[in-house]
Symmetry: C2
Subunit: 462 residues, 2 copies
């Protein structure tokens, strides 16, 4: 094939080969981690399904993707729909609350694309619980590899959750379909041609539409590959490759690295981060500090003169709403989330219903919260976890409490307590599930490996 000077398949083939051939023994050895990730995401997805935006997405999906009566579960709706409609709307539900997991190698949320995509394929295929776990672990690994290969991707404005997510989820779906290396490579190629999504949509409905679309396109990519659709075998590197177009990297493919035998999988190290609060991750270290100080010193809102917060530049960039007017903006507001933490001593989903924003006590306390950028953090090679968050609460009595911290609760090194996990799942699912349904789902999730047809789980999510 003369004139064809692109390198053929170096990085893409390595990725496809790893994903097609990594042993199930190895992926299933991380079952506990995977079950935790899937449980956390399902909680967010079930809770999210009650929100307006995913409901609208579901309506449009039903209108355009074939109505009700398909093989797949539309979570929280009582309905079975087409696989594309399920992946699309469930993906939007999974991300709408901004409560879903994050992942440092990705600088984004891995599970909100992977889980809805896998569930749709697994349900259509009557796959087993172990198939789901296996595919989930593979998808998380791909998102880690791509995230590490594209370190500036997020900075320049791409929503890695969706842009990387569509490829990671496509590979996971291809794994459920048991495609071989060539098949996975074609799924990757189709998925890269659908890689899109922008950080401009933070604070807007479209933010959750993006991972929904990525989940849908991932399902599609895997089935198109299975149907024999062929793409360019090297889509990650080269002059027009993903690395160049989406991350400005003149890649030779060597950045795409996968764990060899004996090396830990990404789901184990560095592991996934779970959110204790349904707010932007950039508020979390500060909220950890505020809640701890309030509990330890029994601080009440009336006692507070002012709260001063200092956080890295990357984090202030996400917290774009000092005076939020709705729940979507309130998640990206340091004053609002700090005020809720002091007043309520916990942070619940109901604090982000639109009507909750205007509460006079919260509004009054917000006026006494300030946020500043950590000096020097604008220009540095350090990650945000290598720089501290400062929190200072000054009381009317003259007393002052201060906190400096680098660590974030919910990281794998500092996991949420069982009690926190339980509270989160209940808070998410309370408005959608009965107590009995919740117990059945949790019981199944803890023994997902023994489920022979994933329909046993998905029918409980309807």
């Amino acid at each position: 094939m003369s004139g064809d000077t692109l390198p053929h398949g170096a990085a893409t083939r390595r990725m496809a080969e790893w994903a097609a051939t990594v042993s199930r023994e190895r992926t299933l050895s991380t079952r506990t981690h995977a079950q935790k990730g899937i449980k956390d995401l399902l909680g967010c997805m079930i809770g999210g399904s009650a929100e307006t935006v995913p409901k609208r997405v579901a309506q449009v999906a039903l209108l355009l993707f074939g109505g009700s009566g398909g093989p797949c579960t539309l979570v929280g709706s009582g309905q079975r729909v087409s696989a594309a409609a399920a992946a699309f709307a469930n993906g939007a539900s999974a991300h709408i609350l901004d409560f879903d997991d994050s992942f440092r190698p990705l600088t984004g949320h891995p599970s909100c694309t992977i889980v809805p995509a896998i569930l749709a394929v697994a349900e259509e295929q009557h796959a087993s619980g172990d198939d789901v776990i296996d595919a989930y672990v593979v998808g998380v690994e791909i998102s880690a590899a791509m995230g590490r290969a594209a370190p500036k991707h997020h900075d320049v404005g791409w929503h890695g959750t969706a842009t990387v997510g569509v490829v990671a989820a496509a590979v996971a779906c291809a794994r459920v379909l048991r495609l071989d290396t060539d098949g996975v490579a074609n799924a990757i190629s189709v998925a890269v041609s659908a890689s899109s999504g922008s950080r401009m949509q933070i604070g807007y409905d479209v933010k959750c539409v993006q991972p929904g679309a990525a989940a849908r396109d991932a399902v599609l990519a895997a089935y198109l590959a299975k149907a024999g659709i062929r793409g360019n075998p090297e889509v990650l590197v080269g002059p027009w490759g993903w690395s160049k177009l989406y991350a400005g990297v003149d890649s030779d493919g060597s950045e795409y690295v996968f764990p060899g035998p004996g090396e830990p999988l990404a789901i184990v190290d560095p592991g996934i981060t779970y959110k204790p609060y349904p707010t932007c991750g950039s508020t979390h270290r500060t909220l950890n500090a505020v809640l701890e100080m309030c509990h330890r010193h029994n601080i009440r809102a009336d006692d507070v003169e002012r709260i001063e917060t200092v956080i890295p530049f990357l984090n202030t960039q996400n917290l774009r709403y000092d005076r939020p007017v709705n729940g979507m903006q309130a998640r990206f507001s340091m004053p609002y989330t700090c005020a809720v933490a002091v007043l309520c001593r916990q942070i619940r989903l109901s604090d982000f219903e639109d009507a909750a924003i205007a509460r006079p006590d919260v509004q009054a306390l917000m006026e006494r919260v300030s946020m500043r950028t950590l000096p020097g953090s604008e220009h540095t090679d350090k990650t945000y976890l290598e720089m501290p968050c400062y929190t200072k609460i000054s009381l009317r009595s003259g007393r002052v409490y201060e906190d400096e911290r680098y660590d974030r609760r919910g990281e794998s090194t500092q996991p949420l307590t069982t009690e926190e996990e339980r509270f989160k799942f209940e808070d998410c699912t309370r408005s959608v599930l009965t107590e009995s349904q919740r117990k059945q789902i949790l019981a199944l999730l803890e023994n997902l490996g023994s489920v022979t047809d994933v329909a046993a789980l998905t029918e409980l999510l309807r």
Copy 2:
């Protein structure tokens, strides 16, 4: 909204406002141009629907997007399917032959996204022929404006046909749905979040999947906007905007320009380019020359000693296959297409069936065709039409014929003859339609403005 420093709606709002408010009187005044564009595209789409790749896309769409029985026509299949399945598979059919129109401001193919997307929405809505014409003209204008605003977009590797196409087609669909300026702006915002597609896929199945996906996502964007989904109001410019991410332009929005009262619409000037041959546009000026010389001087294959072609760098980049092994590659091969031109004195779709490639007479003649890059054309600000193509045919008799040309047949300044248009439509539709169906469709297309429900047309395409 403190902290929100992106400019709000300057370029996107101007685009949305133009599209929502340009008068139908004005768009319908270009009815003849629009009907020509729609007819040419439908020919390509009907012919493409018989190809393997769109058939596979349609199978997957039926599996994942709701099976048969929806409101919209799957062209060439006898079936009605969901709107998303129709737009997706019809879009792939429209582009698979690489016979569909092109458009200089876009550096791409405008109609293969716009027409399938509009048809799906119009059919679902029972819109009229004039609605389709009106929306088509608006969509073409948007593709021109975005193409002009992003001159380097194509060069760096994006498949503008899909990346711009999804936005242009979304605006066209929003016009069919009669959304107001805010609605169109939201449709643009959703569509920009789905902008994807790479030139890496030239020569692979995925090349036609990309505009199919763009047509599908355009339909979705318009309906999501109609359902109240809201996106960032300024997605085209700003640090994370489309211009910056997809074309490296630090735009202030002033590049996005729309014709004022009295200025010609893009469909009139520069107008759309129609292909006389089902091959990459980069071969066309050379094929114009070869065919003319063969007819004029009655040159036969056996007479030919050698054919030397010299074309601009941009064109050689697309013609990646000196020795094509299948029909998809043969479209992007100068030796193959020149050999067919000499041997057959015309270029038909059947010349690009996989089995046709191996014909011994064609293979033998290919060996005598060479292609070189025009010196100096690698580094220039000139467009390819500002640089000549040279063609030299040397006969065994010692006789030499030479041709130098700047113009390309099928441009609006040098339109195809009525006979050529007829030949193209027949060649495209011969394998799918009866003579009677073809006549009915052509009659309807010539009076599209009098069609009150576009179903009268689409049912003939099934």
